[in-house]
Symmetry: D2
Amino acid sequence: MTSEISIRPLAPGDRSAWRSLWRDYLAFYETDLPDEIYELTFARYTDPARNDMLGWIAWQGGDAVGLVHVIVHAHGWKVAPVTYLQDLFTTPAARGKGVARALIETVYADADVAGRGAVYWLTQTDNTAARALYDRVAIATDFMKYSRS
Amino acid sequence: MTSEISIRPLAPGDRSAWRSLWRDYLAFYETDLPDEIYELTFARYTDPARNDMLGWIAWQGGDAVGLVHVIVHAHGWKVAPVTYLQDLFTTPAARGKGVARALIETVYADADVAGRGAVYWLTQTDNTAARALYDRVAIATDFMKYSRS
Amino acid sequence: MTSEISIRPLAPGDRSAWRSLWRDYLAFYETDLPDEIYELTFARYTDPARNDMLGWIAWQGGDAVGLVHVIVHAHGWKVAPVTYLQDLFTTPAARGKGVARALIETVYADADVAGRGAVYWLTQTDNTAARALYDRVAIATDFMKYSRS
Amino acid sequence: MTSEISIRPLAPGDRSAWRSLWRDYLAFYETDLPDEIYELTFARYTDPARNDMLGWIAWQGGDAVGLVHVIVHAHGWKVAPVTYLQDLFTTPAARGKGVARALIETVYADADVAGRGAVYWLTQTDNTAARALYDRVAIATDFMKYSRS
């Protein structure tokens, strides 16, 4: 018997749950970031007046089981801005239960309401586990990323 | 004998030169956009108070020979915003003369001055001509783009 | 017999009607502005993705009879941004018919929907005609403006 | 013998000094604000990537003796944004030593560097102590503020 998953916008009270999820997510990319970034990033994602940085957290019972972060930015080819899904994470224990898909669908729904329905993200080509999901909810393009350094 | 290349920020007087360059660029992607988008996009790139949409145009003698467009957006992992080089174009006649490289370096220099030196862009994996240049001025990552539709 | 007043957001097709209204408004303040500002300001107020500069125009039959411009900005004392009603104008022929009041109420309604219901504006203390209306729809404060120059 | 006044941009380490100054400033306006606003406002004024909310704090020896907060916003009559000096405070013990004037001049200098030199603020008409200073560094206009509520 499992409790239902509920997804809601990040709020100030989520600070410690969020830190833990984001740390695990960053560890997947062999990254950690200084405390100042945790503080700054959390303040940005939870500032109710910002509409360029948005986040949601998934709860199952009393456990925080996933998060998604979105960056909204202008686009030279479009009237409306676009929605860049920057971070997506589900805890190992909660995988295979549709949490990641539900988080992506939360982003899609919010993007539609806000009139910036063009959503995209980047993923490593060899991340087959993630791509198995992405191929069901989005389209793999032939665009790759170049980075100055 | 050729005249020197000069690169400067897009300005209201560049309207018709810019339209022609951007149209040719979009044609490379088998795209065209309605007139309203040309109007809106040009107004945005030439609004001196916007710092999230920036453009430069390259001139050689009396000819407009290239353009670059940049989108600046927030980043959840960084204090400073990042610089997304969205569009880069050189006219066929002006290729092989370093115009594209000079445009990228203009973006790099501007990004450094503005304190958002993390510059990136997306390109099609099979665009070998472009990638020959990109491999000299940037790093090819293993990130690919997924798009909602 | 008069036709009804309709108020709608400024759109690209309003360019010439808007220019004429705004010029007359500026003339009241013994100001005119160069053409570049007209171009830039109109482009800003009609960019559908901007949410910090908004405008509405009032039509009666085929005549443009009024306009209102709003600037949205952050506020250090509040979670939400605030709504600064910067410009309000009714053509002389249309005065006394509730156009100005309807424009203010349009701003109020939009501000409420957007969750930034704190609306304010500045007016000259001796503008008794305008103040007769303002005293009915808002509160005269004892704050005055200082300007660097 | 007194130590020199130094003014610098608000930074994360100023949190408790800032809270105390801002609380005293708000008390002058017979206002207090909930803790969430203190948190949110401090996070906004100290986010290095925001350019629409800026603050400075004045130190004398080990004492925080003043603060100034600035809101930057678009202006329909101008190419560049304008600089709204929203809050200005000096501790009672430090008055008469030029702290407030130095804070205003800091704002002027920053505004000039950023190309948005039009600085303004609002003050109560009967605040004679403040106005004695303001009349020396700025121009009293005949504009008064109306507020929706």
